[in-house]
């Protein structure tokens, strides 16, 4: 498959068609949008050649994404777990169906060899499928009835934390991204991810998968830009309930945690690993989904 990105040397070739190139936009509230700031970041391939410009998410882009995520939260969290699962499975379906596009991007832009790219996509599909299955099961496994010593029916159930912001793996181009999104939305949250230029084109491709997967607008929002740039805004935004930061650098994460204290956000720092590790088991854990839940305990008397 020919590269279709700007900067591709082949498009200037003799006798070849001059391709219409794609603008890589962010995915917010179910729509593909440019940055409100008008700024972009250059995206290069593994050899360092410029292939595209991606939006450089600003404070206001984050604000819009939080607004979209918050707006979608009520509807998403109140859907039946079965229905959420159906939509989550559909993500896996659509990714499988569009795998050639994504594989090509992984080869052309990220620089994976074709076998690695195929493995990356397969693993991402499997990961999406794995978390999709949890949608209508995790509550039974994580929650339960508490045997209290008084005549009450007492149970504890997981509920979504709310709006989750995730800065996904910098080392795993697709599996890390899919994991970050899937474990958040399977638990009933809506989410915002910010993907850095290195993997941004793959992320936008995946956003197109989401856009055609029956995922309601606003449930997943994909920003592109520098995650450390967004730290002050993520930390101080009261509309974000949980943060998952994969492979955080010390300084940026400390700032984030400090700011998050103002609204007692749940901030999780998660291991990043090499792409191969992600493809195998890393991030495939109920404990990761569990980071994005709140526990609600309810009591009721038992009597006549």
């Amino acid at each position: 498959m020919a590269k279709r990105t700007k900067g591709s040397k082949r498009i200037a070739g003799r006798g070849e068609r001059v391709a219409v190139v794609k603008t890589f936009k962010m995915f917010v509230g179910g729509a593909f949008v440019r940055s409100e700031s008008g700024h972009t970041l250059p995206c290069t391939d593994a050899s360092g050649a410029h292939v595209a410009n991606v939006a450089r998410a600003s404070r206001k882009d984050l604000r819009d994404a939080v607004g979209a995520a918050r707006g979608a939260l009520g509807g998403w969290s109140k859907r039946s777990a079965f229905n959420r699962g159906q939509i989550a499975f559909r993500i896996a379906e659509m990714l499988e169906d569009r795998r050639s596009m994504v594989e090509a991007r992984l080869v052309d832009v990220v620089g994976l060899d074709p076998d690695d790219a195929a493995a990356e996509v397969s693993s991402a599909v499997d990961r999406a499928f794995w978390y999709a299955g949890w949608c209508d099961k995790f509550a039974q496994v994580l929650g339960g009835v508490n045997p209290v010593a008084s005549p009450y029916f007492d149970f504890t159930l997981p509920e979504p934390v709310g709006v989750v912001f995730a800065a996904p793996s910098r080392r795993s181009p697709l599996v890390g991204l899919v994991t970050a999104i899937a474990c958040a939305i399977a638990a009933g949250n809506t989410c915002i991810v910010v993907v850095e230029p290195k993997h941004a084109l793959v992320a936008v491709d995946f956003a197109e998968v989401l856009a055609t997967s029956d995922v309601p607008g606003g449930v997943v929002n994909v920003l592109t830009g520098h995650r450390d740039e967004l730290v002050p805004h993520v930390g101080s935004h009261y509309g974000i309930d949980g943060v998952a930061w994969y492979g955080a650098a010390d300084a940026a994460f400390a700032t984030l945690e400090r700011l998050a204290a103002d609204s007692v956000k749940r901030v999780h720092r998660l291991d990043d690993r090499g792409a191969a590790s992600w493809r195998r088991e890393h991030g495939k854990s109920l404990a990761w989904l569990e980071r994005h839940v709140e526990w609600k305990t309810a009591w009721h008397p038992i009597g006549t």
Partner: protein, 298 residues
């Protein structure tokens, strides 16, 4: 117009039981205990309701009612002696000149399973024989069948048959089921003209319990707030010790207030309670714990 049950709040069993239990942790000491013991004696309906009752047994009980503890003038007489209709004349004669009132169970006690005209006739004859107070049983069959109007009408007719005598309405809560039913029955009885509502006949294994009485007291409170009529309460059966009795008084005090702490508004139907109260009294007087064989059975 047929009687219709008014809207009545439901009762949560677990919370009602917890609240009832909380009264039992109240501590009553020294001067307060003395006052409480005296009040308990004044509230007792000293009861004998046996097939084997004889005039002699009833007369002995009446003597005990008037002078619960011979030689101790500070111990007051009990509120009433409660007997079967055939024993009313005996009791009336034995209690003449005292403050102790004659109470009688009527209306085909304890089941109430007889014809209404027979039951009403029994009430009229019992009053004629000298009963100051009539303890009737409600028609549990009609109540459980949902025929509240019939229950209401029968109580109202009984009230009319009582004339000047006071009417205590026995709900026989042990046959009604959940506390919601106790509350409903309490309202039917009060609406129909009961002067007192009473828990039980004493003929069932499950008699007065604190949660049941609490619910009845709360019904009385609502009735009072709504109508201004102060209805009395009589737990019966199962109250054998002074400690149990004062737990009930604490509950009355904190549910309906101190104006219900008189024999006009609160009675305890009991037979063995009196001697336990006297034992406690003697303990307060002497400082020594007592044994039952120091107190006469009747």
């Amino acid at each position: 117009m047929r009687y219709e049950l008014p809207p009545i709040p439901t009762v949560d069993q677990v919370a009602a039981e917890a609240r009832a239990r909380s009264f039992t942790t109240r501590s009553i000491k020294t001067t307060a205990k003395r006052a409480v013991l005296k009040t308990i004696v004044e509230m007792i309906d000293l009861t004998t309701l046996e097939g084997a009752d004889t005039p002699g047994k009833v007369r002995r009980l009446c003597r005990k009612a008037i002078t619960p503890w011979p030689g101790h003038a500070d111990v007051p007489p009990v509120a009433a002696v409660c007997v079967y209709p055939t024993m009313v004349e005996v009791a009336r004669d034995a209690l003449r000149g005292s403050s102790v009132r004659v109470a009688a169970v009527a209306t085909a006690f304890p089941s109430g399973q007889s014809f209404l005209d027979v039951r009403l006739d029994e009430v009229r004859r019992t009053v004629d024989a000298g009963a100051d107070e009539i303890d009737m049983v409600i028609n549990r069959g009609a109540f459980l069948a949902g025929d509240y109007a019939r229950v209401f009408d029968e109580i109202a007719a009984t009230k009319e048959a009582c004339g000047a005598a006071h009417l205590k309405v026995i709900l026989e809560t042990g046959e009604l089921g959940p506390l919601d039913q106790v509350r409903r029955a309490s309202h039917v009885a009060m609406d129909a003209g009961a002067d007192f509502i009473k828990t039980s006949t004493g003929k069932l294994p499950s008699a007065a319990t604190m949660p049941i009485v609490l619910v009845m007291l709360e019904a009385i409170r609502d009735h009072y707030r709504a109508t201004g009529r102060a209805i009395g309460m009589k737990p019966a059966g199962g109250i054998r010790t002074a400690k149990q009795a004062w737990h009930y008084l604490v509950m009355v005090k904190e549910t309906l207030g101190d104006e219900w702490l008189t024999a006009d508004r609160f009675r305890i139907g009991a037979s063995s309670l009196l001697n336990d109260v006297l034992m406690q009294w003697a303990r307060l007087d002497s400082g020594h714990y007592q044994a039952p064989n120091y107190f006469s059975e009747d």
